[in-house]
């Protein structure tokens, strides 16, 4: 049984113009189709990376998995139970099992709380343990993320560096003993030299505490390093999924190929092919049916624009791409 399963999960946001605009200028309500018919499975203790550019829906997906946003349609199954159907008691239990790590270490900690309060807040809010035990667990969690509690217990966020703050964020998520951790770009606002340390921390803690992780990032180099499997999204649609090595070294979907060939390499001798892609990215507002990459794809044909593609491909390796023109695309050595 998969830990988490998304079945045709869709999330729309309505852009309603002001009443007067609607009446006088006939402006219609436009719809942002942030996530469209997503299918996803996640096993226990697996690290799934989600890659994509801005507007691709990865953050929205994060929020839905973490239970902070409800899908507009489709099913979000956690351990085979639909998250939308949970009653409030079960929802609290679910909250504990699925936790989230946020992107901005300067914004994700309450500036008026001390570190001890930040880490202890989750268990306190859900009344998981008696107060004494909560404090003990919080202290031990701080030690586990590399912040000795004797030094950091009473500090305020503004006294900490970016890396330290992010560790506090990780501690406050993991103190709940979750089974699934959703990490939304946790490294992008940190200095390069300390990113590796936080990445290691996450990886080690995931192994020690046996939780699965959905790691969302626009940085394919980092995803290559930490993820077991990789899902590539574009404008709300899943484009490709597979083992991280397969997707990065042998990308099949034209979008993935363009994306990977665009990533700069820290080696002055490395040569990169120009990405095969035209036009500019658009917003997922009132998009056409069918593949949303079709307009920029060098291999697209009429049917691409009309029919929506699901992920298909070899299920033995798990490497799938949402494209029916795969045969027409020459296999390139990367």
């Amino acid at each position: 049984m998969a830990l988490l399963e998304l079945k045709q999960v869709t999330r729309h946001f309505e852009l309603r113009p002001a009443l007067l605009d609607r009446l006088m200028r006939g402006r219609k309500t436009r719809v942002i189709k942030a996530v469209e018919s997503m299918n996803l499975t996640l096993g226990n203790e697996e690290i799934l990376g989600i890659a994509g550019e801005s507007g691709c829906g990865k953050s929205t997906t994060c929020m839905m998995v973490a239970g902070l946003l409800a899908p507009s349609s489709g099913q979000l199954l956690y351990r085979d139970r639909d998250v939308n159907q949970l009653d409030s008691g079960e929802l609290n239990e679910h909250r504990r099992r699925v936790q989230m790590i946020f992107q901005d270490p300067y914004e994700s900690l309450n500036p008026r709380f001390r570190v001890s309060d930040i880490v202890a807040e989750g268990p306190r809010a859900l009344r998981l343990w008696p107060e004494r035990e909560i404090s003990e667990r919080a202290a031990s969690m701080l030690d586990s993320v590399g912040l000795p509690y004797s030094k950091y217990w009473s500090r305020y966020p503004h006294e900490l560096s970016g890396g330290e703050r992010q560790r506090v964020g990780i501690a406050s998520a993991l103190v709940m003993e979750p089974e699934l951790v959703v990490a939304d770009e946790p490294l992008s606002m940190l200095d390069v030299s300390i990113r590796a340390g936080i990445l290691d921390l996450l990886r080690n803690l995931a192994r020690q505490r046996n939780f699965a992780c959905i790691y969302v990032s626009h940085d394919l180099s980092i995803l290559g390093n930490i993820a077991d499997r990789l899902l590539v999204m574009y404008l709300g649609q899943a484009m490709e999924v597979g083992a991280v090595k397969d997707v990065i070294m042998q990308p099949r979907h034209p979008y993935t190929r363009a994306l990977i060939s665009a990533v700069p390499v820290p080696d002055p001798r490395a040569k990169r092919a120009a990405p095969q892609i035209s036009g500019d990215i658009s917003r997922p507002v009132d998009p056409p049916p069918g593949c949303r990459f079709a307009a920029r794809c060098p291999y697209s044909d009429e049917s691409c624009r009309e029919t929506f593609m699901k992920l298909e491909g070899s299920s033995s390796t798990g490497h799938q791409a949402a494209c029916h023109r795969l045969e027409a695309i020459p296999l390139e050595a990367s």
């Binding site: 973490a66 239970g67 902070l68 609290n92 909250r95 504990r96 936790q99 989230m100 946020f102 992107q103 901005d104 914004e107 994700s108 900690l109 309450n110 500036p111 008026r112 709380f113 001890s116 807040e121 989750g122 809010a125 859900l126 107060e131 004494r132 404090s135 003990e136 202290a139 509690y149 004797s150 217990w153 009473s154 964020g169 406050s172 998520a173 709940m176």
Partner: protein, 299 residues
């Protein structure tokens, strides 16, 4: 230094009080304001013991004659009224009334305003609409006439004066706190709190409120100042509490006596007190303003 687990409640309260003291003292204006307000507070608390005479007793001067309309002297530091009442004693007891009204109205109105602002800002939608329309209605009410009408309707008692003031003053703080709540609620640490499982109420009062606190305290000081001015204005027009004396009431008595042109001491003392106390409260609030708006801080 390692801190003990779970600091006790009193410990936390003392610590925040100490922090507030530091905040106020850190600002030169705040310091002045603080000590002046403290002085008035002490006078208000010990008023009955500080007043040398009964404010409603006819006084006689050292020569034994009726001390009517005496300018300030050693015996009567702020002089006397036309009926021979000691103005200094009146002033001291009036300080108590004024401080009570100011403090009570100020704190009640900020409590109302803060809660309405927080709830409206956090929930948005229909709740916000209803609460804000209510605030708008009150914004449309002219302050003083409303207070006067209420008192005229229900009588010249202290409770009604406070009630009337409170009913109007909460409106400004509600608007302002709602605006700040809206901007805070969108910050990532609130999303994080929801992800950790905090209920709405917990988020409002445990997570958002501490961040709104500087602004709140700023408006608390303002509200107290406004309450004092309103009470003085209403009393001056004859709508204050009938049984207790306040600074505005003293000016009302002066007006009734018809001796305004003559007895400058009678006019000066209460007026100066009003101005000084209100200004001091504003000074104190300036200290919080620097925190509420970090851009005001010096580099």
């Amino acid at each position: 230094m390692p801190d003990a687990f779970g600091i006790s409640r009193p410990g936390r309260v003392l610590r925040s009080l100490a922090e507030h003291y530091r905040i106020i003292q850190g600002n030169p204006l705040g310091r002045i304001g603080f000590w002046v307000v403290a002085l008035f507070l002490v006078v208000a608390i010990f008023a009955p013991w500080l007043a040398p005479h009964d404010p409603w007793e006819m006084q006689y001067d050292s020569e034994g004659s009726f001390a009517s309309l005496q300018p300030p002297s050693w015996q009567f530091p702020i002089g006397t009224t036309h009926l021979g009442y000691d103005l200094f004693s009146q002033l001291i007891l009036a300080t108590r009334t004024t401080m009570i009204i100011g403090a009570v109205s100020g704190f009640i109105s900020i409590a109302i305003g803060a809660n309405i602002g927080l709830v409206a800002g956090y929930y948005g939608g229909k709740v916000d609409e209803i609460l804000m329309r209510l605030t708008d209605v009150l914004y449309g009410m002219p302050f003083l006439p409303f207070v006067i009408v209420l008192i005229a309707l229900f009588g010249r008692k202290l409770e009604f004066v406070i009630l009337a003031i409170v009913l109007i003053i909460w409106r400004t703080s509600a608007r302002v706190i709602r605006a700040q709540t809206i901007s805070i609620k969108q910050r990532q640490f609130i999303t994080a709190a929801r992800a950790r499982g905090c209920s709405d109420l917990r988020i409002i009062y445990k997570h958002i409120l501490p961040n709104v606190l500087p602004l709140l305290l700023l408006y608390a000081a303002f509200n107290i100042a406004w309450s004092i001015i309103t009470e003085a204005s209403a009393s001056f027009l004859g709508f204050g509490d009938a049984d207790t004396i306040s600074w505005g009431g003293m000016l009302y008595e002066l007006w009734l006596s018809g001796k305004t042109r003559v007895a400058w001491w009678w006019f000066a003392a209460p007026s100066l007190c009003i101005v000084i106390l209100v200004t001091s409260l504003v000074f104190v609030s300036r200290a919080y303003e620097e925190i509420a708006n970090p851009r005001l801080r010096k580099r």
